[in-house]
Symmetry: C2
Subunit: 118 residues, 2 copies
Amino acid sequence: MPKALPVLDTTAPVCCSPMAAGPVDEGAALEIALRLKALADPVRVRLMSLILAEAELGVCTCDLAPAVGVTEATVSHHLKQLRDAGLVEGTRKGTNVYYRPNADGLVALCRVIDPDCC
Amino acid sequence: MPKALPVLDTTAPVCCSPMAAGPVDEGAALEIALRLKALADPVRVRLMSLILAEAELGVCTCDLAPAVGVTEATVSHHLKQLRDAGLVEGTRKGTNVYYRPNADGLVALCRVIDPDCC
DNA sequence: CGCCTGACTCGACGTTCGTCAAGTAATTGC
DNA sequence: GCAATTACTTGACGAACGTCGAGTCAGGCG
């Protein structure tokens, strides 16, 4: 983990693509790369799609693990990365933790890489 | 390299986000993850932004290397990944190879992760 | 309380990744 | 043809990553 994630800089007005808007400096590049890396794994892509599919109700870890075919420990590890990148949110309800997508995080990521946004 | 990249499946009509559209199967998840991974590195993010900044003229490797502060060999390595993912295109002109962005690749990537596309 | 279940943390392992130095191709100019 | 320049390939090294088993923490329930 090269750096902490400030939950995707909700401070910065990321309307226009910072990437297509001009050369990005080293720090910004790292921030962008970290967010992309959070999604750059087949298991995390599948987890994200499953969480998006149940955006209303939320999904718990114990349901996700068999769905993607890995250990619960591994799912937990991946969910932490998605959480740190601000892409999902987990809320505890009894013994279960229900995960829901954080649409803002995904949209922000999209804006960063879209060459003809705005 | 777990799999060859068919230059981002220009065959598939990726209008609506395949990720938010429903659970993605293992193969599709791998394809998406590979494209995201192509951009999930700070050096490649900076290369992409530099190439986008000179979309008209194109940039050659020898100019990119000092701009990002790594060896030309390393830049070549990263450019290959961006090329394989269909994000940039390189055309040789004399001894130089000029790189230009492939907007379609970036837009397709964006569509894949956008939760409220369409 | 004691026990169980679900979620997470820790340590370890094998693999992949980013980087460079050195070597190889390709193209131009003398 | 030969030298020079630019781009790429190869091999190697260290760092980071994904995965798991085992252990730990937190909430229900008998």
